[in-house]
């Protein structure tokens, strides 16, 4: 494991059995590095496997979905390394929530509607630490304060339905942050929120990361969010990573035809608004009929004979820029 990485995923393949007993791989041969104190973006459209990748790292897969191959090396607090894909569920329970935690897209369904938010966050502490109830409560209120919840003492006794979407997401962030994990997975944390609240939550995440020396894996479909807070970006398509680069490099030198298509398809708040929007033709191949060649070739304007016969590998084209495409690129 490289010394500046917190997580190194190698050859991760997560499978689920289909009706005909064959295995489909919504996550296929994923290599992913999460450097210390960095925010890494995982971008793609619905069904591309980005959430499944996160859930594999968290070991939150619903049976019969399981990890078939690969390793997930994680550097623990003391410096020792463990493979999250291999440890027992019991060991994983000591890591999950404490050293790695996660926030979800829909803050209403992520919280229990019949327990006050204060008690829910307190549970996260008492599950991992032997601590008195009043001391735990104090830490919860401090955590509420840190994530910018107004009047934290009163909010402690509130039920989720009494709070707005933005406040609920702040509660979820407080719950994820209260044990000061080294690694936070944020799965579309702002998708269900208004743009005005989204900007506030993103600013909060940036600030928390700096204060806590934390690494973040941010899953999103929104390239605007990526441009705002990520350091590195991975683009996923049909279960594979098709492009990886530092943020500035990716936006300046977009190489994969799919990433290019995504960038051209978004209407912009600033800049030109003339003409038709670019569209990516066709649809994502289904899990049961995944081509053995390039998975994007049926939708790609540059597809050639080779693309229809062989699977391109993720190759380095300089500047730490990786792309899964046969096309020649200028350096």
């Amino acid at each position: 494991m490289q010394s500046d990485n917190l997580i190194e995923v190698r050859g991760l393949r997560t499978v689920l059995p289909l009706k005909n007993k064959e295995l489909a791989a919504p996550v296929d041969d994923i290599d992913l590095d999460i450097p210390l104190r960095k925010t890494v973006g995982l971008v793609g459209e619905s069904g591309c496997g980005k959430s499944m990748t996160a859930r594999s790292i968290m070991r939150l897969l619903d049976y019969p979905i399981h990890i078939q191959e690969g390793t997930i090396a994680f550097r623990r607090e003391g410096g020792s390394e463990i493979d999250l894909a291999a440890i027992s569920e019991k060991e994983m329970r000591g890591v999950r929530g404490r050293e790695i935690s996660m926030i979800f897209q829909e803050p209403m369904t992520a919280l229990n509607p019949s327990i006050t938010v204060g008690k829910q966050v307190r549970e996260a502490i008492t599950l991992h630490e032997n601590i008195s109830r009043s001391a735990a409560k104090e830490r919860v209120i401090k955590a509420f304060y840190d994530v910018g919840i107004p009047e934290p003492e009163q909010r402690y006794h509130a039920y989720p339905h009494q709070l707005s979407g933005g406040l609920r997401q702040r509660i979820c962030i407080a719950m994820a942050m209260v044990l000061q994990p080294a690694f936070l997975i944020a799965d579309e944390p702002t998708t269900a929120l208004d743009v005005t609240v989204e900007a506030q939550i993103l600013a909060l995440m940036k600030q928390l990361q700096q204060d806590n020396d934390m690494s973040i894996l941010l899953i999103t479909h929104n390239l605007g969010v990526v441009a705002d807070i990520c350091d590195e970006v991975n683009v996923m398509y049909a279960g594979q990573i098709v492009e990886h680069a530092e943020k500035a490099e990716l936006f300046r030198r977009t190489l994969h035809p799919y990433t290019r298509g995504l960038m051209k398809a978004i209407p912009r708040v600033r800049g030109s608004m003339e003409g038709e929007l670019y569209t990516i033709q066709g649809t994502v191949p289904s899990l049961s009929q995944m081509p053995t060649a390039c998975r994007f070739c049926a939708r790609c304007p540059y597809a050639q004979e080779q693309c229809r016969n062989e699977m391109p590998s993720l190759r380095d084209v300089g500047n730490g820029h990786l792309v899964r495409c046969f096309r020649e690129v200028e350096p």
Binding site: L167, V195, N222, L277, T279, T283
Partner: protein, 318 residues
């Protein structure tokens, strides 16, 4: 300008709740002109969907009037109202819950025609024509909505709205549930259909980038009141109302070199629509608020060039 297609005057809609009356739409007036796309923007809970439903009279206003081609919709009953409604259709946000799962696609699209009394043979023909126009295959006629992806379902919803050949289509967040590549397909389709059929859209959205792409004029709503009405270009380049500016500045920009420090961002959240702040409803979140704002409600003023704004301290214009 030509005569408006829709004229809404002093619309009011309150909802009862245990905690009190929710002032969803509170004295709102505006016009929609034939052939234009008017965007209605605001945060969730500001009353924009309620306003959309008032316009097509899926909801009845507590007071105020909506006229369609000069006819007061509130005065219509029975078959006259049904007739008027054929002229105003709606496309919903969620293409999963807005299509009846027991109907085939053909039946979904034919339903408004059946309601209008169109004969069966003609119905089938017109449905097939509509399906071609929105990019569905002919054999999709006998398939069920659950067999389609989100984008395809939204095409079905659009075909259904087009069926009675309406003048106005209210689009309530039609692309919010879709992926970006699919969103682009649907937006292009909507633009093309508008050009072909001289449609008028009331486009309700919280996505400022989509609104900029699709609309000619924009109405900004905050907590049941209108803040600003203006041509889309003006709203993005030199807005009058501070809320308009802040809403646009919050939109994430897919460009890492974009200067994020220069933005004006909103603090806090939407106040309660049950007890909205006195004076200007935006005053609790506005950096320019003065005592006047906290006591006197600003009126909609005309700034020329089709620009209206309700603010005591509009932003300086270059």
């Amino acid at each position: 300008m030509s005569e408006p297609l829709i004229r809404a005057e002093h619309l009011v809609k309150y909802f009862k709740s245990n905690a009190g009356r929710i002032k969803a739409v509170d004295d709102v007036s505006f016009e929609i002109y034939p052939g234009e796309t008017l965007a209605l923007v605001g945060e969730s809970g500001c009353g924009k969907s309620t306003l959309g439903r008032l316009i097509v009279r899926l909801l009845k206003a507590d007071s105020g009037t909506v006229t369609l081609n000069g006819v007061d919709l509130g005065s219509l009953k029975g078959s006259a109202l049904r007739k008027a409604r054929q002229n105003m259709q709606i496309v919903f946000q969620d293409p999963f819950s807005s299509l009846d799962p027991h109907f085939t696609v053909g039946e979904v699209i034919a339903e408004p025609l059946r309601a209008a009394g169109v004969k069966k043979e003609e119905r089938v023909q017109r449905v097939q024509q509509l399906m071609r126009r929105v990019g569905l295959q002919e054999e999709d006629y006998w398939r069920f909505p659950h067999q389609f992806s989100g984008g395809q379902r939204q095409r079905i919803g659009i075909a259904r709205a087009l069926a009675p050949e309406p003048q106005l289509i209210v689009c309530d967040e039609p692309v919010s549930a879709l992926d970006v590549s699919i969103q682009a397909q649907i937006l292009n389709l909507m633009r093309r259909l508008q050009a072909e059929s001289k449609l008028t859209y009331l486009f309700i959205s919280h996505d400022l980038a989509v609104v900029r792409y699709i609309s000619n004029r924009i109405v900004v709503m905050f907590l049941g009141k209108l803040c600003e009405i203006c041509p889309t270009k003006d709203a993005y380049e030199h807005p009058l109302h501070p809320y308009t500016r802040m809403l646009i500045d919050s939109a994430p920009e897919p460009d890492p070199d974009f200067d994020r420090e220069d933005r004006m961002l909103l603090q806090g959240e939407l106040p309660s629509p049950i007890n909205p702040p006195a004076g200007c409803r935006f005053c609790t979140r506005c950096p320019y608020a003065t005592d006047e704002c906290r006591t006197v409600e600003p009126e909609m003023k005309d700034y020329g060039g089709g620009r209206l704004c309700a603010c005591h301290h509009p932003l300086p214009q270059k």
